[in-house]
Symmetry: C2
Subunit: 347 residues, 2 copies
């Protein structure tokens, strides 16, 4: 069996740490696992199941070694570092799985949610991109329905937890919450405004068309993943004062009439989805309950008032796991199963 020499870039962050534990949990066949971070924020090791993995600081001298001999490299630190190093890693012969937004819309970079479009991986040229968290969650649910009744228009409002903005943001939520409970006035640092006991309809930067980058990429990424450039996706992306778990309120207009019972039975049988839907006992997806699980929870499935072609539903999932780290590991597992390693740049 193939054994992989794996590097994780950005191992000190939330996604990087989760990546390490998922690789161990799912027994990904690595022969070596080397962790790097350009900023370790004081974290010197990641504690795994059986061992502690040291984190090496990335700098001009160590960058080259990070890919030397690695045949699978996960990038989990963000756009800046990926822009700087991903191509270098791929050219050094590694197969790169990148969580940043830098390469997602590049025509020759597959953008993959394994349950949806694993086959796209085969066409990679050394780099495979993992979509944004909101995109992954939405497409997990859209895709099985789209196959039986093509999706035309999606309207989605998100309820995104602060872990999506990283560890400093989570600390800011805690500190601001404590201050407000103590009757003090908090001062924003990570976010432009207070986040404790508040909601902020701004995730990432604004584009000229009035959408944020996070909102607009939901359409672009969905079109690429589902292979349909006609789909309209209009999003409002919102930070809510929750530590972990992303939620979405979704309305979907399909090409033809769609029955709620058929839709729920399709969702119930779809891989990676758990139907959490019994309004009689107040059972529906919640971000706290989704934390730490691998499934995308779907509930509150209902007809859109009197539109027979439309459904409304509610999604929750762990943004750090299926929304990021787990999706990246699943891409790696698919590469392993199919033998789709980077061969173009093979040393």
């Amino acid at each position: 069996m193939e054994q992989y020499r794996v590097s994780v870039i950005g191992a000190a962050g939330l996604v990087g740490q989760e990546l390490v534990s998922i690789l161990e949990e799912r027994k990904f066949p690595f022969s070596s696992l080397n962790l790097y971070a350009s900023d370790d924020a004081g974290r010197k090791t990641v504690i795994g199941i059986n061992q502690a993995f040291p984190i090496q600081l990335l700098d001009h001298s160590s960058e080259r070694n990070a890919f030397q001999g690695a045949n699978m490299v996960f990038f989990a630190e963000g756009d800046k570092l990926s822009r700087h190093l991903v191509n270098q890693a791929a050219q050094a012969g590694a197969t790169v799985i990148d969580s940043s937004s830098v390469f997602r819309l590049e025509p020759d970079v597959p953008l993959v949610v394994p349950e949806v479009n694993a086959g796209d991986i085969q066409n990679h040229h050394g780099i495979i991109a993992s979509p944004g968290c909101s995109t992954i969650l939405l497409n997990m649910v859209l895709s099985p329905l789209h196959k039986i009744n093509p999706v035309k228009r999606v309207i989605v409002s998100t309820y995104q937890s602060i872990s999506g903005a990283g560890l400093p943001a989570m600390n800011e939520l805690t500190q601001q919450t404590q201050k407000i409970l103590a009757g003090e006035i908090p001062r924003p640092a990570v976010f432009p405004h207070e986040i404790a006991f508040n909601v902020l309809p701004q995730v990432d930067v604004f584009l000229d068309n009035g959408y944020t980058k996070e909102e607009w990429q939901l359409m672009d990424e969905t079109r690429k993943i589902i292979h349909d450039n006609g789909i309209l996706v209009s999003a409002t992306c919102v930070w809510v004062p929750v530590y972990k778990g992303y939620c979405q309120a979704v309305t979907v207009d399909f090409s033809n009439e769609i029955n709620t019972d058929i839709a729920t039975s399709i969702l119930a049988e779809s891989p990676g989805i758990r139907l959490v839907d019994d309004t009689g006992i107040s059972l529906y997806p919640q971000p706290r309950a989704a934390t730490g699980t691998d499934m995308v929870m779907v509930g509150r499935v209902r007809q859109d008032t009197f539109n027979l072609n439309s459904l409304v539903f509610w999604i929750a999932a762990d943004n750090i796991r299926k929304g990021a780290a787990l999706n990246m590991v699943q891409i790696a597992e698919e590469i392993h199963r199919k033998g789709w390693l980077n061969v173009e740049n093979q040393r």
Copy 2:
């Protein structure tokens, strides 16, 4: 000038207390102001600007006195008490302004947002209903646009603060937040699940069609207020761990093409609306910032991706003020201005 003998039923609650202070603030011409509550939760007085108003407990013997001599009665305690006493108050000759959901859809009860349909008050038979908070906010923004370009379909996701569920709910949010910060596990009481650092897609009870009562009434009430039974309103209503301020992400399909610039200039000139919309400096409505103000804040106004007939925007307002108490006082002011007191049952 007419002087009113005013009673407030439910004066110990959040809306009742705010009502008293708004009546004083706006110098509503009352000659007497008597406060009642069926459950005072230990509150014996409401402290006004110039004086403290005692709260009298409602029981079998005091109920009759509550309306004796009153010519304007505000009901702010909820469905149970309104169902029990509103008709009695109207029959005793008072003009009743009721915030409960009991009478809102009764054909002979006007349902009023004064900026939208103040004229409907004239046809009352002793009872005027104030809409649900979410309905008020939504219709404040829909109505001026509907007049120039009829609204066909509305899709709205709400971010509702815990004050909408009353004082015990706010206390539960505080207690659960403290417990979680201390590493303890909170136990839900007011809500079916944890509300601290969590979001719950259930406001009020579920109907057979999968919507909650809160969600479905947004359509029924909007149709009645805007006088158009063809409008489709599909809502997902969600509690978020915020103390005060309701937000809404809204997508509106109009009958014809609509231009963002025209829409924003109409909204900017509409009474009761404040445009808070400059993405260049991260300026948009927020629940904490809306708290304590009388305006409905609108921002993030943008075209719905490529749909020229559709707009997307974001609303925030103080749910206890414009969402409830202020709207009730504005109804009373309109009655005062026009002399539209209950005459049918006049003693």
